[in-house]
């Protein structure tokens, strides 16, 4: 630096990594959640917009059968418990428990895909039948994409935790951020669930 400087502030004792809101990655995850959350809000707005235009809703189909959706939602809500525990173990830097937790979370990523696979036929409409089919398939599809993305992320983190990189606080921070993101996947599902199954029932 060519402007004359005078070192006054000693930062040598600062930690190498801050967790939670002291970590840039945490803020980055939050920003991406804001982006994707805006996307979900807009899609729900599109759903309501199309519903407001239609003379009958759902278009050309009975209301969707809710049972697969209810089973899916129940699994997601239950998964919040192990997800919370994984984040706490990661914060305490307990790598052994984190590994177990990530195995459980991998299962909680895979198992909901089964009821999810039944949710699409439960809509009783195809994406190319009419606009109602288009928006419901897109909503479910986009949410499924988030589910699968987070599942892959969880599996990669599980593999990482079984290597020598696992004990690194920065990698354990990644586990916490992944848990945060899973909460987002669960929380965004609730309004989508209410939209897909609740709105036809109300109308």
């Amino acid at each position: 630096m060519t402007h004359p400087v005078r070192p006054v502030l000693d930062v040598s004792d600062l930690p190498l990594h801050g967790s939670g809101s002291a970590s840039p990655t945490w803020w980055g995850t939050l920003a991406f959640m804001l982006i994707e959350g805006t996307g979900f809000v807009l899609l729900i707005a599109v759903y309501l917009y199309l519903a407001s235009l239609a003379s009958t809703w759902p278009l050309g189909a009975p209301a969707p059968a809710p049972w697969a959706g209810i089973a899916f939602s129940a699994l997601l809500l239950v998964s919040l418990v192990p997800n919370f525990l994984v984040a706490r173990w990661a914060e305490r830097r307990d790598v052994r428990r984190v590994r177990i937790g990530l195995v459980i979370m991998t299962l909680f990523g895979v198992v909901p895909l089964v009821p999810r696979a039944f949710e699409f036929p439960a809509l009783h409409v195809m994406w190319d039948s009419n606009a109602y089919g288009s928006i419901t398939w897109t909503l479910l599809g986009l949410h499924t994409t988030h589910l699968v993305t987070d599942l892959i992320d969880t599996i990669v983190l599980l593999a990482l935790m079984c290597t020598r990189h696992g004990a690194n606080p920065r990698r354990l921070g990644d586990v916490q951020d992944n848990a945060l993101y899973w909460n987002f996947v669960v929380v965004t599902w609730l309004p989508i669930f209410a939209c897909i199954y609740g709105v036809p029932w109300l109308l």
Binding site: P7, L16, G28, F32, A131, S134
Partner: protein, 640 residues
């Protein structure tokens, strides 16, 4: 000699206090520097190199879009000219608008921020530097997709806002609209990535002591812009994705016969499209607020009102979109609301103008080229703002909708409001970026030619619009009487073009043989001027400590930090409000993976135009590239 000495001295956990001050720079350069050659070019994550690349690429797109504009002016210079056929003309005006909005205006503003913001907040690299590299490659490839499409006669021909049903499966045959829609995906991914980087850099990497009320106004402007990008861009991604789904897999979002709606497209597009205007304008506001105090030789007047005006504009920008749709027959009450909000946004903008004028009046202005561009901005932008208040009124808008009056209006606000400040910013920051001054003499000619050329070109378009000349027509009949004024516009366009040619000439000339620039040639107050010109790879050998809003004016000796490691890329993370140091965080090293991630993502996106299954098989290489990107390596940055 110093190299071998350093190899002996520098061990793991060596601090900047452990080595002699004269070797601090060389050691940091060893750690932060980009290797020479192609490998360094492809792997670098230095925000300055990427920012420079981003700026240069965006200006090349500006020049290409300018050539398209000249072709249109050639065709319209007289009635019933036959230089360009109607089909090609449709592609040209679509390419011009799409190119200028998505490949020039938004990217160039973010690009300047990618370069300047980390320097202004006193850090060593942008947050998520690999994402930054990825963003550039996505932007570049997206631009190439559009232009290669155009070269193959597959350029989009549906206007830059691609209204359905014209762009839908029924009327938009072929792949032209698909190329438009996927280009959107490329550029929005790039823009969103930079927005996230900027938010986190500004919130978490400010130099210690840079509390919220000491953040430079350009940085504030970019923070608001980044949030606007985050909230607006998802709308256009959803719009373009549903368009492409309608076109490729037979969904019915925009098909009225199956319960879809064409106006849905306009709502989604303009929910993005109007904030887009402010995504372009707010960075320019920040540039103006940086340039004015420097050349008025005094601190800005009304720092707090200026920050509040930025935030208010950013929020109000989301309540205006329907004013692009006044002639679609929406309910009267809705139209009145949007008229009111369109006029309301003039309030924060007016506050800004008065703060700037007060700064100039109370200071001792020095009229160098950057400042001349700001004066040009005042003159031109006020005219654009006035015609904006005019079209905010529904009856008037109904009369001039889709005419050259609107073309004149938005060129006044976009070129006057954003491009003039941007050119001023280029003259202002060029010495910092290149270490050389641009020519003051040529600069004055550039200002003169561009401002006179611009006003002579675009002012008559107001009159042509009032005379009823519609936009987007490839020719007109002689009896309509628009010929002479159009010829005048076309000739004036040549003056404007000459100004830009001279500008580019000055940039190239100055880069090679401009007078060497000192570190702070304008005697400015913000931190980017505290380091050398051009800045070293590590930006600052010691991260500064900030004690006022104008650090270089208020401290002859800049306080700084000590105790950072010098054998790995390390920077400071600070708290959001008070910028108190929280951690010594590592900053990622160079990597080829962002490049591969961009290549694989591009294969997916381009292939999906031809087969929807590309989304499935294309995702596999993308996944591997991302795993390669995030998998920790045995570098000191990843280990601790």
């Amino acid at each position: 000699m110093s190299g071998s000495y350093l190899e002996q001295v520098v061990q793991p956990d060596t601090r900047d206090t452990d080595i002699p001050p004269r070797l601090l720079g060389p050691q940091l350069e060893r750690i932060w520097g980009t290797p020479r050659g192609l490998w360094g070019f492809l792997t670098t994550v230095d925000h300055k190199r990427i920012g420079q690349r981003y700026i240069v690429t965006a200006f090349i797109f500006l020049a290409m879009g300018g050539v398209l504009a000249l072709l249109m002016r050639l065709q319209l210079s007289g009635p019933e000219r036959r230089f360009i056929d109607p089909d090609r003309y449709n592609q040209i005006f679509t390419m011009h608008g799409t190119n200028m909005m998505f490949l020039f205006a938004v990217p160039v503003m973010e690009a300047v921020a990618v370069y300047i913001v980390p320097l202004m907040v006193g850090t060593r690299n942008i947050a998520f530097p690999r994402l930054n590299a990825f963003s550039y490659w996505m932007f570049l490839i997206g631009g190439l997709v559009l232009w290669v499409g155009f070269a193959l006669d597959m350029g989009p021909d549906v206007g830059w806002f691609a209204y359905v049903p014209l762009s839908g499966p029924q009327y938009g045959a072929g792949k032209r609209s698909d190329i438009w829609a996927q280009m959107i995906t490329f550029t929005e991914i790039a823009a969103l990535a930079v927005a996230v980087e900027l938010v986190v850099t500004i919130l978490k990497q400010r130099a210690p002591g840079m509390t919220l009320d000491r953040i430079p106004l350009f940085v504030w402007a970019m923070l608001v812009t980044a949030f606007a990008v985050i909230c607006a861009m998802p709308a256009i991604m959803i719009a373009s994705t549903s368009l492409i789904l309608d076109r490729l897999v037979g969904t019915h979002f925009f098909n009225p016969s199956e319960g879809g709606d064409v106006l849905l497209w306009q709502h989604l597009f303009w929910f993005f499209g109007h904030p887009e205007v402010y995504i372009i304008f707010l960075p320019a506001v920040g540039m103006i607020s940086s340039i004015i105090p420097t050349f008025a030789r005094r601190p800005i007047v009304g720092y707090l009102p200026l920050v509040l005006a930025l935030i208010a504009t950013g929020i109000l920008a989301f309540g205006l979109w329907v004013h692009h749709m006044f002639v679609t027959g929406l309910p009267r009450l809705g139209e009145s609301f949007f008229t009111a909000s369109s006029m309301a946004i003039a309030v924060p903008n007016g506050i800004q103008i008065f703060c700037w004028l007060a700064t100039l009046v109370l200071g001792r202005p020095v009229l160098k080229t950057p400042m001349l561009f700001i004066l040009a901005f005042f003159f031109t932008f006020v005219i654009g703002g006035l015609s904006g208040v005019m079209v905010a009124s529904v009856p008037f808008d109904t009369q001039v909708h889709d005419t050259y009056f609107v073309v004149a209006h938005f060129h006044y606000v976009l070129i006057g409001g954003a491009v003039f400040p941007l050119m001023g910013a280029v003259y202002y920051w060029f010495p910092k970026i290149t270490g050389r001054m641009m020519s003051e003499r040529i600069g004055r000619w550039v200002v003169g030619l561009v401002v006179v050329g611009f006003n002579l070109t675009f002012f008559p378009m107001h009159i042509l619009g009032l005379q009823g000349m519609p936009r987007r027509i490839y020719t007109y009949q002689p009896e309509l009487g628009w010929g002479p004024l159009n010829l005048f516009v076309s000739l004036s366009g040549c003056i404007l073009a000459a100004g830009f040619v001279l500008f580019f000439f000055d940039v190239v000339r100055s880069m090679r043989s401009g007078a060497p620039a000192s570190d702070n040639p304008w005697q400015a107050a913000t931190l980017e001027w505290a380091t050398s010109s051009p800045p070293p790879s590590y930006n600052f050998s010691r991260i500064p400590v900030v004690t006022s809003a104008n650090p270089l004016w208020d401290a002859t000796i800049l306080p700084a930090t000590r105790g950072l490691r010098v054998e790995r890329r390390e920077l400071l993370v600070t708290t959001v409000v008070d910028a108190e140091p929280q951690a010594r965080e590592s900053s990622p090293s160079d990597s080829i993976w962002p490049f591969w991630a961009a290549v694989t993502t591009s294969v997916l996106l381009v292939s999906s135009i031809f087969t929807p299954w590309a989304v499935v098989w294309g995702a596999i290489p993308v996944t591997f590239a991302l795993i390669g990107w995030f998998w920790p390596k045995s570098t000191p940055e990843d280990l601790a």
